[in-house]
């Protein structure tokens, strides 16, 4: 208790300083579109914005790689498209369906999107996280190459603990016998989600990108899970889909139950996709919204601004801490449910009945 009080006292001057700087900031920008600001931070971008210095953006311009409508490749820096500039016929759309995406004009003058393989902010964040994951896990593997007797300590020990825990407590009991076939993917997915979740919480480079809060990423991961479930499904699994143990009238004239089951096949991974995406995105939006409160409340006067800022900062600290928890939980849940679904599609009939009796 004493310590936490001391910490608050220590933080107080920083808070006050923060209010003054934000007030100074907000005076410059008269109008604030909060919705746009939040969406800009949640979405992808062709540059990595670091901070503002003397009214100028300091950011990393990322390479744009395009395949145009005629099949020609284009590679240039995204700085060419700054401030609505048109470069080689490409520009960033300001509004409409393709807002903030790179577009070109076809013969009729309509905006169309070229094949876009640009290294965007999310792609760069992806590369960074992949590098971090590979480096940390390979260094653990290297440890064991050198020393087979002693367990590693510190960070490597932590990674080893996670690997063993996920494998022994999640994957093994959920999938059963031949869990070893699936554990590389599930472990990779766990570390991928966890690393990107945690990197997303760090507000400065190399963190801050909203990778796991992007539906493309979660779509990819859950599609792999979808494939693993259905490709490895056994006879009994497909029998349950097309001819489940229900009264015959539920499946003969009109295949109601099979339709529901098929819908379930799609919805199981889709739920995984939406859950991860929504959780991470919601966390980011909450923090951004709370921080935005500071800027919004400037127009309400100094007292209101200070009050709101205190509340906003404290709340965003709380939400950020919560997000650390959510990062771990979501990674865990994704792997847990994936392995449960895979395990269910490989279950033998007898075991399934026993489980049914146990659970009801």
């Amino acid at each position: 208790m004493k310590r936490s009080k001391k910490n608050i006292v220590r933080f107080f001057p920083i808070l006050i300083l923060l209010f003054f700087t934000t007030s100074a900031f907000a005076e410059e920008k008269e109008e604030l579109n909060i919705k746009e600001l939040i969406f800009e931070h949640l979405g992808d971008s062709y540059k990595w914005h670091f901070f503002e210095w003397n009214g100028k953006d300091v950011s990393l311009h990322l390479p744009v790689i395009l395949l145009d409508k005629n099949g020609g490749w284009h590679l240039f820096s995204s700085s060419r498209l700054e401030d609505n500039a048109v470069y080689e016929g490409f520009y960033i759309a300001n509004e409409g369906q393709n807002k903030s995406k790179i577009v070109e004009k076809d013969e009729t003058g309509a905006e169309i999107r070229p094949w876009n393989f640009s290294i965007t902010k999310n792609v760069l964040a992806l590369f960074i996280s992949v590098f971090i994951i590979s480096a940390s896990i390979m260094s653990l593997a290297k440890w064991y190459k050198n020393d087979k007797r002693n367990p590693p300590s510190g960070f490597l020990g932590f990674i080893e603990m996670i690997i063993l825990n996920i494998q022994d407590e999640v994957i093994k009991p959920s999938i059963g016998e031949d869990y070893k076939r699936f554990s590389p993917f599930l472990l990779t997915a766990f570390f991928f989600i966890l690393t990107n979740n945690l990197l997303g919480l760090i507000p400065i480079f190399p963190g801050g990108a909203n990778v796991t809060g992007n539906i493309t990423i979660t779509l990819f991961l859950s599609f792999i899970t979808f494939l693993l479930i259905n490709v490895n499904g056994n006879k009994h699994y497909w029998k349950e889909v097309f001819w489940p143990d229900v009264p015959t009238w539920l499946k003969v004239p009109f295949p109601l139950m099979p339709l529901i089951e098929i819908w379930g096949i799609i919805m199981k991974p889709a739920a995984l996709m939406i859950r991860l995406f929504a959780n991470v995105m919601a966390g980011h939006s909450m923090v951004l919204g709370l921080i935005s409160l500071i800027f919004v409340s400037v127009s309400m006067g100094v007292a209101a601004n200070i009050g709101m800022s205190t509340v906003a900062v404290l709340f965003s600290i709380f939400i950020s801490l919560l997000e650390v928890l959510v990062s771990v939980i979501q990674a865990y849940i994704f792997v847990l449910l994936s392995s449960v679904f895979i395990g269910m599609s490989r279950m033998k009939e007898k075991i399934k009945e026993e489980n049914y009796i146990e659970h009801h």
Binding site: F39, L42, G43, D44, K99, S100, K101, W115, N116, F117, S118, I119, T120, N122, V123, L126, F127, V130, I133, S134, I137, M138, L140, A141, Y144, K145, K148, R149, P151, E160, I163, L164, Q167, S183, P184, F185, L187, T188, F191, F192, N214, I215, T216, I217, L219, F220, L221, M281
Partner: protein, 166 residues
């Protein structure tokens, strides 16, 4: 809502980067780690078993050692006892032997002395007889010459004889 529409470019890069990381980890990362951990677990279990075995062995060895030490102590006490007895016996034997020896020597010495004495006496007697015979001869010789002188000599000889004898 651009947030809800998947982006093909990002999907492409996701396939590439996730594919690479999956390949690396599935080929060189996780199997090596899990194998090493299994091996370590086995090693630890084995080491524990061996330690237990060693402990058990040590306990039996300790017991054996104690038994051996106890036996040895008993043996030592026994040996010491025996040695003491032996020493006493040897000493007493030596004493007895020495005494017997002394006795034998004494007897021998005595008998020798006796023998020498007898011999000396026999010799002396012989001498005396010789002397007596000589004296007697001389006396007989003198008598023929001087009676008076004969008488004196006999006296003198007798005196001498008596003196000698006493």
């Amino acid at each position: 809502m651009s947030l809800l529409t998947p982006d093909l470019g990002l999907l492409f890069w996701m396939c590439v980067s996730f594919g690479i990381v999956f390949f690396i980890l599935a080929k060189f990362g996780f199997p090596a780690i899990l194998k090493a951990v299994d091996e370590r677990t086995e090693y630890i279990n084995k080491a524990l078993e061996e330690a237990e075995e060693a402990e058990r062995k040590l306990a039996t060895i300790n017991k054996q050692a104690e038994a051996i030490i106890g036996k040895a102590e008993e043996e030592r006490a026994k040996l010491l006892n025996e040695a003491g007895e032996l020493r006493n016996r040897i000493i007493s034997d030596a004493h007895e032997k020495a005494e017997a020896d002394i006795r034998i020597r004494l007897t021998k010495a005595r008998s020798e002395i006796e023998e020498v004495k007898q011999k000396a006496l026999t010799d002396i007697r012989g001498e005396i007889a010789d002397i007596s015979l000589k004296i007697a001869g001389k006396v007989v010789d003198e008598e023929l010459k001087n009676d008076k002188k004969q008488q004196e000599l006999i006296d003198h000889l007798l005196k001498e004889e008596i003196y000698y004898k006493s």
